[in-house]
């Protein structure tokens, strides 16, 4: 049996128009809440539209009308059947006090994995530097391999002119953007089932271990701590948090021991991924400022003990914040 298309459209058009106007309102304002009566009417309109689509699908009809209805039903379907909570208005303080530390603790296993891989890299870098000092040309970044630590320390402590004058903010912005990009990349490589994330964390660990060993064996441990601790105690955990997010993503993709569907698993972790991403980005902004405005200044301008103390205080604050904040 074939329906009378014109009469059908004429009768149903007001219902479709009403549904479309409600959808336009809902889509224009993500925070809009319908009253009970409005929600009931919306549901009724949705059911009428789906019934219309069912008729058009069964009987002969104009494809454009069917497309229009499909589009309308698709839009309404998402609003009617969505069970995830609507995102509330941005509450930065609540997010900082509760959401970030709680998310970090909820995904702590992934953080431990990131930490273990980085430490394994550190161990590798240490052994490589001790066994084969020439490996520094491969294991150390940023030209650290060109100078012996004692030479660099002598140069830094002799320097009377501030080489960053007028460019401190620029240097700081470069550090922030570069480190954030690397961290996002570490997270994004979770899509390679975590293999890419492992490689980045391990290679970071190698560089860290090699540089630390180089300075310690050359008798420059005090300089190393004064130089690295102020920004490193935030920067390194930030990269570990990025690795943590990468592993959360990888676990969602692999679904080891989890019987939910791929889309269900990814749906469950998407909020945590975003929270951890914003978290490590904020940490790197702080680390960028500290590295530019404090870490690059050495004795006699700033005593190493003061820098080390600052770094230790930051580390304690970070541990307390991530470990305790938001606990009920």
């Amino acid at each position: 049996m074939i329906i009378d298309l014109q009469r059908f459209i004429h009768t149903e058009r007001p219902v479709w128009n009403e549904l479309e106007s409600v959808l336009n309102r809902l889509e224009a304002d993500p925070n809009l809440k319908l009253s009970l009566e409005e929600a009931q009417r919306f549901h009724e309109l949705y059911e009428r539209a789906t019934a219309s689509l069912a008729k058009l699908t069964t009987f002969s009809s104009e494809p454009a009308t069917r497309q229009y209805l499909e589009n309308l039903v698709a839009r309404a379907y998402g609003e009617v059947h969505e069970t995830r909570e609507k995102r509330r208005k941005l509450q930065p303080l609540l997010w900082l006090r509760q959401t970030l530390p709680r998310t970090f603790r909820r995904q702590i296993q992934a953080f431990y994995l990131a930490l273990a891989i980085t430490l394994a890299g550190c161990a590798f870098g240490t052994v490589a530097t001790l066994v084969d000092p020439d490996s520094r040309h491969v294991t150390m970044p940023f030209g650290h391999d060109r100078l012996k630590p004692s030479q660099r320390v002598a140069e830094e402590e002799k320097r009377t002119k501030d080489r960053l004058t007028g460019n401190r903010t620029f240097f700081s912005s470069q550090l922030m953007t570069h480190n954030t990009q690397v961290s996002i990349f570490t997270l994004a490589l979770g899509t390679t089932w975590g293999i890419g994330t492992i490689l980045i964390l391990f290679s970071n660990g190698i560089s860290l271990g090699a540089i630390a060993t180089d300075y310690v064996t050359d008798g420059q441990a005090r300089f190393l701590l004064g130089w690295l601790l102020p920004h490193g105690v935030i920067e390194i955990p930030a990269i570990l948090v990025a690795g943590q997010a990468g592993f959360v993503l990888a676990r969602g993709l692999i679904g080891w021991g989890d019987r939910t569907t791929l889309s269900g698993r990814l749906r469950a972790i998407s909020g945590d991924l975003v929270t951890l991403s914003i978290g490590f980005a904020l940490m790197l902004v702080w680390a960028g400022f500290v590295e530019s405005f404090l870490s690059q200044y050495h004795e006699p301008v700033v005593p190493y003990e003061a820098k080390i103390a600052f770094g230790v205080l930051e580390l304690i604050a970070l541990i307390l914040y991530l470990g305790r904040s938001g606990r009920t």
């Binding site: 074939i2 789906t50 069912a54 002969s60 620029f170 997270l187 994004a188």
Partner: protein
């Protein structure tokens, strides 16, 4: 071979489909967005250069951060406030939606855009393009992780039967039982072909049009044969108009 539509079955038993956007369309949308970002950057750079004599370091710092934030935040911001669209996607009629037809969430928008860094590798979206080409839902890696798809928004036009069916006398309606049988036997796809042939009649050249309507008329005549006097002197094209009139209108027009 994978299809270009994604059917979604609702709990009410209704199936609707989303038309998936292909990698080429998406690439062009990305190109437009890249141009938009570059244009915005030039405007910001132009405005900030005025302050360069005062503090060149600060200007460079702001530019570095602005470029980074704009590059990363452009798609996140627009896809969130425009419900899955950016300038490029709007121009090409594309939209990011949840892969299961649910409401697009902010977390999904952020995730798919953060993971763009991997999709961009090694150059010009090679990884993303390859993933899009191989994935059954045409998803790049960011889409897979965020559980999103990119669809084409259909351009909807109203059907106008009055204009198509010139209002001439319909000889087939004289035989009500045969007209009812025709309505019963013609499938939606066949009815659609007849209707589309009429809608597009002016796009064919004269010979092709004649041939097409002859073939269609012969097909529908075989489907339900009408007596000679109902089709005598009726051209093939008019016969198809009569068929469409019978199929789409259950009551005769006065």
């Amino acid at each position: 071979m994978k299809g270009n539509t994604l059917p979604i079955r609702t709990p009410e038993g209704i199936v609707f489909s989303q038309t998936l956007a292909g990698p080429v369309m998406r690439f062009f949308a990305w190109l437009i967005d890249s141009l938009a970002v570059m244009a915005l950057m030039s405007v910001i750079a132009g405005a900030l250069r005025a302050f360069e004599p005062v503090s060149p370091g600060m200007v460079n710092a702001v530019l570095t951060i602005a470029f980074f934030v704009l590059n990363l935040g452009y798609s996140i911001f627009l896809e969130w406030i425009w419900r899955g669209q950016t300038v490029g996607k709007k121009l090409l009629g594309l939209r990011v939606v949840d892969a299961e037809g649910m409401r697009l969430q902010f977390d999904q928008v952020v995730t798919r855009n953060l993971l763009r860094l991997v999709d961009l590798l090694p150059i010009a979206y090679l990884v993303g393009g390859l993933s899009c080409w191989l994935s059954p839902k045409c998803q790049r890696l960011g889409d897979i992780a965020a559980n999103t798809i990119v669809i084409r928004i259909p351009v909807v036009t109203e059907p106008d039967l009055d204009q198509l069916l010139t209002g001439k006398f319909n000889s087939l309606r004289q035989y009500a039982h045969l007209a009812a049988r025709l309505r019963q036997r013609v499938t939606p796809a066949e009815a659609g072909i007849a209707l589309q042939a009429l809608v597009r009649r002016d796009e064919f050249d004269a010979v092709a049009r004649l041939e097409l309507f002859e073939q269609l008329a012969s097909y529908f005549q075989k489907k339900v044969p009408f007596p000679e006097d109902a089709i005598d002197g009726v051209s093939s094209e008019q016969y198809i108009r009569n068929v469409v009139d019978v199929v789409y209108r259950t009551t005769a027009k006065a």
